[in-house]
Symmetry: C2
Subunit: 223 residues, 2 copies
C-alpha cells in the first residue's frame, strides 16, 4: 500500500516535471538543480556566480529551504530575481512547488534559472524538478567516500563540483580515491575542483555555466 | 490522502519505537541515535569512542547506510558487535528495522547500543527509533547557520557535538552565533566542542557517554 502511494507521488511528480521542462524549453530557459549536503557551499557558489556573471547572464534563482530565508538574504545584494520555497520540514523540493513559483518570474527576461535545493544528499536526487540537469556539489571536508556511500545523486549529475579544496592540507581526503569512485559511478562526468573562499577553479565553473546558456554560449570566454 | 498515509506510517513507526524502547528498558540497555549531515564525523567519533571506552563499556553498534558497509568496516577492528542496515536508497532508519536487528545482539551482555543513522540532517529527526536520546553532530565546516536552518534535530537533541574545531582558523564559522541560535532552539542542551582528529574535547564526550550507562555511571572518571 505504501509502495503504491509512493509510486503515485513519484508519478505525479514526474508528470509535473515533464510539464515544467516543456514550459521552460518553450521559453528557452535552462534550469540547473543544485544538490549537496548541508554546508557544502551551494549558496557561496551562487554568490560567486552572481558576482561574476550577472552582468552577462540574466539569472533567476529559486531557494529551497526548510524554514528560513537566510540563503536568499545572502543573495539579495546581486539584484537577481529570487523566490524562496519553504518546505516546512520537507526534505526536498518537488516539481509541483517549482511549477507554482515559475509564474513569479518573467521568463522572457531570464537566461538561466538556478534552483538551490534543500541541503540533503539523498531525497532531492529522487525528485525530478523538470531541470535541464542536476549539479552535485560536495566538499573535501565531507570525506572522499561520499560518491560510493550516496551514489544516487552522483550517478545522475551532469557535473560534479568539489568545493573547499583550500582545506585539503588539513583534512583526510584522498582525491584519487574520490575520482576513482566517481569514475565507476558516472565515468564521463566532469569534476570541477574549486575553492569558493580562495577562488581556485572558479573560472572553469563559470565557463561550464556559460556553456549551459544557449544565447551566451558563443564567445563566452574572457569573463 | 497522502497526509493520512504519512500519519499511518508515523503512527506505525511510533508504536514500534515504543515497543523497542520498552524492550531495551527491560534489559537496561540505553540506545543513542547519532544524527548528522554526511561527513560530519559520526564514524570517526565512533572510532575514537570504541578505542577509548570499549574496555569499560560493552558497546553494540547499528550502522545505518544507504548501500555500503564502509563505516562498519572501519569499526570492525574494535571487536564490538556491529549490525549494518542498508536502507537501499532510503533516507533514514525507522523503528521497524531497528526492532528486526535487535535480536541479532545479545542484549544481556551490552551496556550501550549506539545507532549511527544515515547521513542526513532532516529525515532521521522525524523517525523515533525507540532511542533513549538523539545526539546531534555538526561540524564547523558546515557553517554556523545549521541549527537555524535545520531546527528539527537541534530541538530534540539531548546533546550537541560540534566537531572539527581544529579547522576553525580556516573556515567562516562564528561560534557565538552558533551558540546563540542553539540557545534559542534548545536552551539547556549541552554543546561539546571536539576535534576527532586532534583530540580536543573528547574527554568531555567520553564523560557524557559514561553518564548514559547506568552500570558505569558511578566512579566513571579517570578513563
Amino acid at each position: 500500500m505504501e509502495i503504491k502511494i509512493m509510486k503515485n507521488i513519484l508519478d505525479r511528480n514526474q508528470n509535473k516535471a515533464d510539464e515544467v521542462r516543456e514550459q521552460l524549453k518553450s521559453k528557452g530557459v535552462p534550469m540547473l538543480n543544485l544538490i549537496s549536503s548541508p554546508g557544502a557551499g551551494k549558496t557561496t557558489l551562487l554568490e560567486r556566480t552572481c558576482e561574476k556573471l550577472s552582468n552577462r547572464i540574466r539569472f533567476g534563482i529559486i531557494e529551497g529551504d526548510i524554514t528560513t530565508d537566510r540563503d536568499a538574504q545572502r543573495l539579495k545584494k546581486y539584484d537577481v530575481p529570487i523566490v524562496v520555497i519553504n518546505t516546512e520540514g520537507g526534505c526536498h523540493l518537488d516539481s509541483h512547488s517549482i511549477s507554482r513559483v515559475l509564474d513569479l518570474f518573467d521568463l522572457e527576461s531570464i537566461d538561466l534559472l538556478i534552483v538551490e535545493n534543500v541541503g540533503n544528499l539523498i531525497c532531492p536526487s529522487q525528485f525530478d524538478l523538470g531541470e535541464t540537469c542536476k549539479v552535485a556539489i560536495v566538499s573535501t571536508t565531507e570525506g572522499d567516500d561520499k560518491p560510493a556511500k550516496y551514489p544516487m545523486l552522483f550517478r545522475q549529475a551532469k557535473v560534479v563540483v568539489l568545493n573547499k579544496i583550500d582545506l585539503l592540507p588539513y583534512v583526510n581526503f584522498d582525491i584519487s580515491s574520490f575520482r576513482s569512485d566517481m569514475g565507476k559511478l558516472n565515468g564521463s562526468v566532469p569534476i570541477i575542483d574549486i575553492s569558493c573562499t580562495r577562488g581556485d577553479g572558479l573560472e572553469s565553473w563559470y565557463e561550464w555555466v556559460g556553456e549551459q546558456v544557449p544565447g551566451v554560449r558563443q564567445g563566452f570566454r574572457g569573463y
